[in-house]
């Protein structure tokens, strides 16, 4: 039989009360924080899982945000493409109308005005924005991609390589007196002549015309017939420039979609060549895709934008080329000039009927982009609903893992409290009696 002392009983009572208090404490903590564990050491497995689930939930929330942004962006793009389709449809209708022979020139001029307006609308639509960013600009979303500018070509003359016809001026730079003969049919025209001593003469011809070409071409000059003693004239050709209008051209990101593609026949070859030479660096060439991608899920990304050049086309036959051709045709032109990549100027025939094919092809391009965008929008919507499911699932898992069931927690507290109270009352009785109380 083991010997029990009063101090042992007291110590054991206190020990047991303490154990019960600990249990009560844990249960109360769980109930008030509504979490199963306070520190990872309370249950390391729950803690590890908790960290993982929180990470999942946070990631899914981020994806949902991305998907929502993507959806808005695509929505803006979709609206723009729809508007563009309407514009092209309207242009087509006008083309059909204009192809009727019964129209007078003034009717055609009216239609031309409308087409001009349509061209402006197209540019505006292609410059739509979403939250201040231009949607058709690829990566360059900070400035409008499309712009219409009235373009001119600067024609410069060159001092080298002129040959004379009836003027005794030879190639080269020999100084001396030269006479200049000029022949022409119309126009007033001024030549500045300087003699080696530096004196200048200006001559105005009433019937002179000169033909200038650039660099490697020949300059033919003829002095005015009104000059009485052409032999006393010295002649230098000095550089000057004139500018010649090419038309209202549309640029994409500051570059020409089809350099020198459609130009009125009234523009001189010189001007066209000059324009082409000056802008070879500004010809648009398709580089790498500038697709703006958003993360929409684990390992999945979606491109949210449509690039402008994919919508309008680039190179010959693009949307603006077609509209320009339409304008020229409505103006009465039957041909237009175009310059190819080797720099050769070609003249093409122009007919309003033929333009219907071109407009149809442009419409087709827009439709293709639209349906591609539609497919992507469907994918994004699918992602959105799948992410919503994921969010619910992971949140539920997270909560099941780390949150207490309130009913269970309250019961635990009640039980612990009962046990605690019982141990207090029983303990009190046990330690307060001893033999001394019973001795007389």
């Amino acid at each position: 039989m083991i010997r029990i002392t009063n101090s042992m009983m007291a110590k054991n009572t206190v020990w047991n009360i303490n154990q019960n208090m600990q249990r009560l404490n844990t249960a109360t903590n769980a109930e008030s924080t509504e979490k199963k564990i306070q520190l990872a050491s309370d249950d390391p497995i729950i803690a590890t899982r908790a960290l993982k689930y929180r990470n999942y939930v946070a990631t899914v929330e981020q994806y949902q945000k991305n998907v929502s942004d993507a959806s808005s962006w695509m929505s803006v793009t979709e609206n723009s493409l729809s508007d563009l389709k309407d514009v092209l449809q309207q242009a087509r209708n006008l083309t059909v109308e204009a192809s009727s022979d019964a129209l007078s020139d003034s009717d055609k001029a009216d239609i031309a005005d409308q087409v001009e307006q349509l061209k402006e609308s197209a540019v505006q639509i292609l410059n739509s924005t979403y939250a201040g960013r231009y949607v058709f600009g690829g990566y360059a979303t900070d400035s409008p991609p499309y712009a219409t500018t009235s373009t001119t070509a600067a024609i410069t003359t060159n001092t080298a390589g002129y040959i004379a016809d009836d003027i005794g001026v030879s190639n080269g730079l020999a100084t001396g007196n030269y006479s200049v003969a000029m022949s022409g049919t119309s126009g007033s025209y001024t030549l500045t002549l300087t003699d080696p001593a530096g004196a200048t003469y200006t001559a105005t011809s009433t019937d002179g015309s000169a033909t200038f070409t650039t660099a490697s071409g020949a300059v033919v000059l003829e002095a005015p017939t009104t000059v009485t003693s052409p032999g006393t004239l010295a002649f230098t050709v000095s550089s000057g420039s004139t500018s010649s209008s090419i038309g209202n051209l549309v640029t994409f990101k500051g570059k020409y979609l089809d350099l020198g593609g459609v130009v009125s026949s009234s523009v001189s070859d010189t001007a066209l060549n000059a324009f082409y030479a000056a802008n070879t660096a500004n010809a648009y060439s398709a580089g790498t895709d500038q697709a703006i991608k958003y993360n929409t899920g684990y390992g999945s990304q979606i491109a949210v934008n449509v690039e402008g050049q994919d919508v309008t086309g680039s190179g010959s036959g693009n949307l603006f080329d077609t509209l320009d051709k339409l304008l020229l045709a409505l103006n009465g032109d039957t041909t237009y000039k175009t310059i190819d990549s080797s720099g050769t100027i070609q003249t093409q025939n122009l007919s309003i009927d033929g333009l219907l094919t071109d407009i149809d092809s442009n419409l087709n391009t827009v439709l293709t982009q639209d349906s591609d965008l539609g497919a992507r929008q469907n994918y994004v919507a699918l992602c959105s609903s799948r992410l919503a499911n994921d969010s619910t699932t992971y949140t539920k898992l997270m909560s099941e893992n780390e949150d207490v069931d309130i009913a269970q927690a309250t019961m635990d507290v009640a039980t612990a409290e009962t046990v605690y109270n019982a141990s207090l009352s029983v303990g009190a009785k046990a330690i307060s009696q001893s033999l001394v109380d019973y001795l007389k």
């Binding site: 042992m8 054991n12 990872a40 390391p44 960290l51 929180r54 979303t141 934008n305």
Partner: protein, 520 residues
Amino acid sequence: MIVVIATFSGLYTAVRGLYVSQASESVTTDNISNANTVGYSRQTVNQTAVGPAATYTSTLQLGNGAQINSVDRVRNFRLDQKYWQENGTDGEWTSKSNYLTELEAVLNDSSTSDSDFASVMDDFTSALSDLSDDPSSSAARTSVRETGEAVANYLNSTAENLSDLRSDVNGDIKTTVSEINSYGKQIADLNKQITLAAASGANVNSLEDQRDALVDKLSNLTSVQVTETVVGKSATGADVKTLNVNVDGGTLVSGNDARQLECYEVTSGSQAGMYGIRWQDTQGEYSPTGGQLGGLLDLRDGTGTGSEYKGIPYYTSQLDDFARTFAEAFNEGVYKNDTASGYGGHAGGEGADDSTGIRFFSYDGKSSTDLMNGATTTSDIDAVYQNITAANISLSSDVTDDLDKIATASTSGGSDNNENILNLISICSDSKMFDNGTPIDFMNSMISTLGTDSDYAGKQSDSQASFLKNIDDRRTSVSGVSVNEETANLTIYQQAYTASAKAVSMWDEIYQETISMVND
């Protein structure tokens, strides 16, 4: 036959009875008074009958009363030894459990916390994701910088807290060593006192109790092996024993002498700046394995390599490893051991101002140029990142000074070019970065290691405490004072005293009668 009786022997026998009862009452009273004294062993009276003498005739032998041989101290040395052995383990686990719980608080591993590492990292990746949706937005850029700084600050402050905790443990070690020294000296002094007192016949029970109480306290601090040696006999004939205390292979107390330990500052190696422990006289190293001291040393020095305990240095080096690897992966797009990540890093991208080669993470706020210091080869670049630790990681000054330097784009131009940022986001969740997987996985595994170790230490501590209590109960069962028992003894001895007193008065009457018989 004539019976000749020694005249007053009866009286003496009764008086002896009185003395014995009185002495027993004193011992009982002593026990009762000391019922709550810590470490007190109850004392019992060793009472024997006085040998019979030829009082009346040589053939009629009567007893001569009782005498007290000794007042014995009831104590079981074996139980004490067992207690002292287990107390060391208890001390070790308790100190480990306490400090590991503190460590958990430092690493903020509670799942209810909003400032733990997982949240900080989630905020950072969210900010990166927002920036990828709108690379030209300066609000999004600011957010990336702020959350990036939060990541660096978390690592900095955690590393600092770990370092402070290590200093605390170091301080505790010094305190513990001086406590051991003090106890050792006191035990040796008591040994001496006991030897002297016993030789002169004094009662040494309370001194021995004091000595045992000191060993109780000492055994919690470090693991002890205690042996008794007999150094002589007391005046009552009982053995006089001294305690010799060995600690982890070295003698602390031997007879009347106590050796001292001292703390000295280590100047080199992984424990530089911390205290080493050695014996003062021989300067030999002291490496305890158990007790509080053993637990504290494991916590302070354990690197987790091989079979070493995962103490604070383990967690510090894990954090450093994380900082280094993450910074290198984020900046350069290269993982450990030159594994190419398959994505470009921050340095490969272009900022909004077309800057390249900018590193996002650096240390001590250095700029990208200062950080890289002209390194170009992969081994040089690896060497650069060895400079980064969790305590000094920061954002590079290029990024903190100019938000446009955050490299979102893959090539220059295009304000909505977000290709590089998408790469960076992929890097943050790439499972090839660490052996355990993604950055979050790495930190999670560190926290779960800590949680498991802390849980284990807590459970060990609880079970050891329970076991120790069991042994202590058995000790108390043997040597504790039972008030009931002593109260019963009071009654018993009082009755015996009353009976002896009655016997005295009876003998007194007999003598009076005898005397009056003579007196006529």
